[in-house]
Amino acid sequence: MFQVRIHGRGGQGVVTAAEMLSIAAFLEGRHAQAFPSFGSERTGAPVVAFCRIDDREIRLREPVLEPDALIIQDPTLLHQVDVFGGLARDGYVLINTSRSFEALGLGEFARTLRAERLCTVPATELALKHVGRPLPNAALLGGFAAVTGRISLDSVAAAIREKFGGAVAAGNVAAASAAYAFVRDEMRAPSHA
């Protein structure tokens, strides 16, 4: 079972991101379960959503306590909420930022993890460019597909189209594709890993 935890703030589409990820996995024939942390739904409040992916039926209903991957939609949460709690040593981390792990004050922590599994992507900028609104969720799923290889970009795009229609879907697919390309470049860069 592969477990993903998504951290963000109310209004950033955190719950929708987990749902779209589950749809993408479903489209690849996997079992998937997405659910929110059911906090008070206030704009700006810290929000957590979860997604589990497996090849068999998922029965477990506890929150994701030991994630295999973290998506952090809002870097201002990094030093406010225990976003890394329970993260596996070989876990993946994807942060929505244009800064580096070092610049975010996470340099030391990052060195305890596998460098090739840590990525950043300026998802909000990509969303502003392609969607016209600062909603980084779909772009981050594109980045997630690139860094983890657990899901294809095509499935992410199909999931986005299932959730949204028309121009919104097209914009979010473009943002996800751009984030995918960005992360792939980042992973190839000599400074990475």
Binding site: I23, F26, H31, F35, G39, L60
Partner: protein, 417 residues
């Protein structure tokens, strides 16, 4: 057709496939997405020949459902928590009158203190109201139980409550197999009411009944509920033949054949319990699970048979009978031939507290080691409780309890987990 959708939408699709003629609803979390989705289906015309009525309260929702069912319409509503309490008088009327309404209860805690999260207190508060109560373990089962509920209720002329864990199921996206309209049409016959307000053959429904026949009316309701104990397993079997899935029925057992310890629970927590039991089985522990799908009528004989071999029983229950302990465990004790102290009530998950494998494994191990009290509270914050008790000892005006606890925790608002 396999779909990856929210539990609420899966239920809405199932209800729509049952061709309800009247849907009345008042929004309350966490059931709102269900009736929202049904409202959209009615508006788009996808669900034809159905009137969607926005009512002014839950009391009105049940009252409209009663009126619709009395007029011979297939009626549906959904609620949760305080909404169920607010309609309680009409809930009793629906069953007392013998009207087959189907209602989803998206299980949620009851205030005060106000809490929007999941537990079973709402459904348990109505356990003796005369409705059949079914509890879904998964969204697939929630979907299937609604189809079964319409047929069961209409056959027996009794209302049916389908309980599904609020948020944990209603807001979870998971894979469900949505049957075709043809499949549901073939399995669910048209509603043939036993009583109907028909101008061509006028009757009155709702007579005042004095001591001369009131007990008999109640007794007949009991007889009808007892008939459900035969119909539910028979139709679950029939459902399996038609839809290819083992859902519904009175109860489900899991790895109980040689189990010394049997864990009993209702609803979605059964999944986490099964995963915990699998881990303990790998370590050689003889432990199994009894999931109760039908809580009312209480399947006395089936539970007794399922527990016949057990040396101890651990009931994980998401409600607390204040001043008594467990509600489900009190029912289970009537089916257990061993010592009543070997049936352990573990109150868990109140107000949305997470129920984790780690905590369950600890409590199961304690039960097997003979170290579990008859009544315990899973992951109770003892230090927090002690501070509140100390405050009450030290000062008469110790203040409001909830606010005091939140202050001790250093939180200004409720938080999940």
């Amino acid at each position: 057709m396999l779909k990856q959708i929210e539990g609420s939408h899966a239920v809405a699709e199932a209800v729509a496939l049952c061709r309800p003629e009247v849907i009345c609803a008042y929004p309350i979390s966490p059931q709102t997405h269900i009736v929202e989705a049904l409202g959209e289906l009615v508006k788009s015309g996808e669900l034809a020949r159905c009137e969607f009525i926005n009512v002014e309260s839950e009391f009105a929702a049940m009252s409209v459902a009663i009126g619709a069912a009395a007029a011979g319409a297939r009626a549906y509503t959904a609620t949760a928590s305080q909404g169920l309490l607010y309609m309680a008088e009409a809930v009793f009327n629906a069953s007392g009158l013998g009207l087959p309404i189907v209602m989803t209860v998206a299980n949620r805690a009851i205030g005060a203190p106000i809490n929007i999260w999941n537990d079973h207190t709402d459904a348990m508060s109505q356990r003796d109201c005369g409705w059949i109560q079914l509890f879904a373990e998964t969204n697939q089962e929630a979907l299937d139980l609604h189809i079964q509920a319409f047929r069961l209720g209409e056959e027996l002329s009794l209302p049916v409550m389908v309980c599904m864990d609020g948020f944990i199921l209603t807001h979870a996206y998971e894979r469900v197999d949505v049957p075709t309209q043809a499949q549901v049409d073939a399995w669910l016959p048209a509603f043939e009411p036993r009583q109907v307000l028909d101008p061509a053959e006028p009757v009155s429904i709702g007579a005042m009944v004095g001591p001369e026949a009131f007990m008999e009316v109640r007794y007949l309701a009991h007889v009808r509920q007892m008939r459900a104990l035969e119909l539910i397993p028979a139709w679950a079997e029939e459902f399996r033949g038609a839809f290819g899935r083992e859902t519904g029925g009175l109860l489900h057992t899991y790895r109980t054949e040689d189990a010394d310890t049997v864990v009993v629970a209702l609803g979605s927590v059964l999944g986490t319990i099964k995963d915990t039991v699998d881990e303990m089985r790998r370590a050689g522990v003889k432990i199994g699970v009894l999931g109760i799908t039908c809580f009312r009528p209480w399947p006395q004989a089936a539970v007794r048979a399922a527990l016949a071999r057990a040396r101890r029983v651990v009931v994980i229950e998401k409600s607390l009978a204040v001043g008594l302990g467990g509600i489900v465990s009190t029912n289970v004790r009537t089916c257990f031939t061993g010592s009543p102290d070997a049936v352990h009530a573990v109150i868990a998950g109140l107000g949305g507290r997470s129920i984790t494998r780690a905590s369950l494994a600890r409590v199961f191990a304690a039960a097997i080691g003979g170290k579990l009290e008859p009544l315990t509270f899973l992951d109770l914050d003892r230090a927090l409780v002690e501070r509140a008790l100390a405050r009450e000892r030290e000062q008469r005006r110790s203040g409001p309890i909830a606010e005091g606890l939140l202050r001790d925790l250093g939180v200004v608002a409720a938080r999940p987990g």
